[in-house]
């Protein structure tokens, strides 16, 4: 029952394109894609050894669901992005779709990459993932 959802895969082409983008962003720590119910699908990281993919997937799904509950109850709207800021870096949780299934893209970068930039890169990655179909 703890098997990952097998139907959700990124094509080789998209994976390679994400890999080549990611390799240019030296201040980015990881890019993980997971299901909204907390299963890891795909990920790349440099350093960030403690950001274990399965753990990040579960945390991302909880945080995203809680933030979505907040946005729906307070702003009456669906959540698009949730942001975590610290002194040493930022994490962005972005709603995206893989083969039309709801997924969460988690992007973490150290403080040398501005929040605006992390957000911009996350959006580009999300567009790429949504073109997977």
């Amino acid at each position: 029952m703890n098997e990952n959802p097998s139907s959700l895969r990124l094509s080789q082409v998209i994976q390679h394109r994400i890999e080549s983008m990611f390799s240019q962003w030296t201040d980015m720590q990881f890019v993980y894609l997971s299901t909204t119910d907390g299963f890891h699908i795909f990920g790349l990281h440099q350093g960030a050894e403690n950001a274990e993919p399965d753990k990040v997937a579960a945390i991302a799904s909880s945080l995203f669901a809680l933030s979505n509950t907040a946005s729906k109850n307070i702003l009456n709207d669906e959540l698009q992005v949730s942001i975590v800021e610290t002194m040493s870096g930022n994490i962005i949780f972005l709603r995206t779709h893989l083969n039309r299934a709801d997924t969460v893209l988690t992007v973490a970068a150290n403080k040398d990459m501005s929040l605006a930039k992390v957000r911009y890169h996350a959006l580009r990655l999300s567009e790429l993932i949504e073109s997977n179909d």
Partner: protein, 184 residues
């Protein structure tokens, strides 16, 4: 007028046991739910990935915060988040499926403070269609696990969809622990 004594009841159990339903049935405020579409076959479409929260007044002096957390072990970091100052623990066991006794044992070891002797209750859910003898048998197996952990907790059948059934369970639980004061 003083504020009511606020206590925290943690509700835990396997997927589909009825945690979200129980909080929906009991809560007097519109409950906070955090469900996502399940990407694997779990016998239902939605699964809780965050927290279910509800609230119920037991009487004028006591209010219970109802905290439901996902049963899957990948969410055990949420178990840690709610395990502070627990007034009571309610473990839901789906009585139409073979019991996962190892899992029950892990839940107890996680949530029961051995020193404080956190009050605990086991609710056998989906029990309306299960034979009385089967429920007795299930309850005996659960008692063994409880006994090994030195936890004394009643095991009672419940239909989480029924307000009457859920309230009865809650009042039984409260009556058992009436002398305990809130930890918060």
């Amino acid at each position: 007028m003083s504020l009511p004594d606020y206590r925290k009841l943690v509700i835990i159990g396997d997927i589909g046991a009825g945690k979200t339903q129980l909080i929906q049935t009991l809560s007097e405020i519109s409950p906070v739910t955090t469900e996502a579409n399940s990407s694997i076959d779990i016998g239902k479409d939605l699964t809780t990935v965050g927290i279910d929260y509800g609230r119920i007044s037991l009487n004028e002096e006591t209010a219970l915060g109802l905290y439901g957390v996902p049963g899957q072990e990948r969410f055990s970091f949420l178990w840690d988040m709610v395990s502070e100052s627990v007034w009571g623990l309610m473990v839901l066991v789906k009585s139409t499926e073979p019991p996962r006794l190892d899992y029950l044992d892990r839940l107890l070891s996680h949530f029961i403070d051995a020193k404080e002797k956190t009050p605990c209750m086991v609710a056998l859910t989906h029990s309306e269609t299960v034979e009385h003898s089967e429920l007795k048998n299930l309850s005996a197996q659960i008692d063994l696990v409880l006994h090994e952990r030195d936890v004394s907790a009643p095991t009672l059948p419940i239909d989480c969809r029924s307000e009457q059934s859920a309230m009865l369970l809650l009042h039984t639980f409260n009556a058992m622990n009436i002398h305990r004061t809130s930890a918060t």
